[in-house]
């Protein structure tokens, strides 16, 4: 009898763990005002880069000075949260980054007085980020006393640079309505279409796998390269074969292949590994990294990841 109970409990745990692990990794989304909108509304920082005038958006200023952008983002966030997909709030993300940075600068070890370790790459990576950026643009059109809003929402995959969702259009012109009212109408009118196209992207992802980018590079001091032969086959081709065997329906494109680097785009990776656990680019490419470390190749390498969808292997050493 006791054995039966144990069996039932074990089965329950197995079922529970399969349910837990059968959830794919959820992408994060964040609404960001577009460069065009920031430029049109004067929220840009300019600096001279060796004679070239470079302009970058000043998001902090935009959030501090423009109530309309807060209204629109708040509306979009609310509607997405209602669909069970709360978005990252960019204004809060910027504040958190700043406060974390200040705390890290002040923090020292009690024992040794040592500061928190941060490589230059870590410092570069300290920006507000999300897996899907919802780029927001609107312009106010005026014809005599009539006003209308042209509204554009673009869902951009941060790793593949593809536009995965969109909603764009111009609202009805109005004589009397104020801009915030027209903006509210624009959000209400477009969010269904935006969610719809995002849903299509997710459906495609569940059917054909997550799309990622894989880069292969080599350290300068490594004596091998992608043309080095193993059993009569070049390393570049061996990596391509591995991808063909391990992608969903063998789908990937070799965008670039030289002796020093390779770039694979539209690499469709399965959402779960053979244990039923959700995987992302890092977990997937880790298998390739292990494959290259194992005989007959024995190539030490370093795996660098960027979010859910971009991974780089640097051949030669850690």
């Amino acid at each position: 009898m006791k054995k039966h109970y144990q069996l039932v409990i074990t089965l329950c745990f197995m079922l529970l763990s399969s349910v837990v692990f059968s959830q794919a990794k959820k992408p994060t989304l964040m609404v960001v005002p577009s460069d065009v909108w920031c430029n049109q509304n004067g929220y840009m920082l300019s600096f001279n880069d060796q004679g070239t005038l470079v302009k970058i958006p000043d998001y902090k200023k935009a959030f501090q000075e423009n109530p309309e952008v807060i209204q629109v983002i708040s509306h979009i966030n609310g509607m997405m949260a209602d669909r069970g997909f709360p978005l990252k709030n960019m204004e809060s993300a910027i504040k958190t980054l700043n406060s974390n940075s200040a705390e890290d600068n002040m923090r020292t070890s009690k024992a040794s007085g040592s500061a928190v370790s941060e490589s230059p790459i870590d410092a570069l990576k300290k920006v507000a980020k999300a897996d899907i950026i919802i780029q927001l643009t609107w312009t106010v059109n005026k014809t005599g006393p009539k006003k209308s809003i042209t509204f554009n929402l673009q869902g951009l995959d941060a790793y593949t640079d593809k536009q995965v969702a969109t909603a764009v259009g111009t609202g009805a012109p109005s004589f009397s309505a104020e801009i915030p009212v027209l903006l509210e109408e624009a959000v209400l009118a477009h969010m269904d279409n935006f969610s719809e196209s995002l849903q299509t992207h997710f459906d495609d992802m569940f059917e054909n796998g997550r799309e990622i980018i894989v880069r292969i590079q080599k350290w300068d001091d490594w004596d091998g390269n992608l043309e080095t032969e193993f059993d009569g086959e070049e390393l570049g081709i061996i990596i391509e074969d591995w991808l063909a065997d391990n992608t969903v329906k063998g789908r990937f494109s070799t965008t670039d292949m030289t002796e020093d680097m390779a770039l694979f785009e539209q690499v469709r990776i399965p959402l779960y590994n053979n244990k039923g656990r959700a995987i992302d680019a890092r977990r997937y490419v880790r298998d390739l990294s292990k494959f290259l470390k194992s005989p007959p190749y024995n190539i030490q390498n370093k795996l660098v990841m960027k979010g859910l969808g971009r991974a780089t292997i640097i051949l030669g050493s850690k």
Binding site: Q23, A24, K25, K26, G78, M79, M80, D82, R83, G84, F85, A167, G169, G171, A172, E185, A186, L188, A189, H190, D192, N193, S195, E196, L198, Q199, F202, D203, F206, L271
Partner: protein
């Protein structure tokens, strides 16, 4: 004797009224059985809703009015609408696949029963009166009646997601 005759008369009257009501109901159901209607956007509604004008066809204008709400909910689920004036953008139906209706026939049959659950997701947007331009006689024996209703599309979507008929944005995550 007189009492007997009166009683008989009352019974016959009752049976007649019931039969007539049933006949009218069947007639109305027949008119809308093939889901013949047109749906157009009537403006930007409040969050989570769609303000639509639904044009129903019937030989009897009363049937067209009574079926309008049912048609509107059906339209949001299965037909959608193109964009148009008043800032409207196109709306794709909640159910994309044509096979889904057949697959979940039992659910939808029950859902669209007279007085069925569909009524939870629709409300009249006007006081019930129909503008002269929305009451059209399209042929000798047929009317086309337009009524404006408000469909709670977000609630409807959630209901269909719960039933597993459509996928939600977070399904699988």
């Amino acid at each position: 004797m007189k009492l007997k005759n009166s009683l008989l008369l009352i019974i016959m009257l009752c049976v007649g009224i019931t039969a007539n009501a049933q006949w009218k109901k069947n007639k109305a159901n027949e008119d809308t059985k093939i889901w013949r209607y047109d749906l157009e956007c009537e403006g930007i509604a409040k969050q989570g809703s769609k303000l639509v004008k639904v044009w129903s066809y019937s030989k009897n204008p009363k049937h067209a009015i009574s079926r309008g709400m049912k048609n509107a909910v059906h339209g949001i689920i299965f037909k959608g609408y193109a964009g148009g004036g008043q800032g409207c953008t196109s709306f794709k139906p909640l159910v994309k696949s044509a096979e889904t209706e057949a697959k979940f026939k039992d659910f939808f049959d029950k859902f669209f029963l007279d007085g069925g659950e569909y009524l939870k997701y629709v409300s009249a947007a006007t006081d019930g009166s129909i503008a002269a331009g929305d009451r059209l006689k399209v042929s000798r024996r047929e009317y086309k009646i337009g009524i404006i209703v408000n469909v709670q599309s977000d609630q409807l979507r959630k209901r269909l997601e719960k039933e597993g008929i459509i996928r939600g944005l977070t399904s699988g995550f």
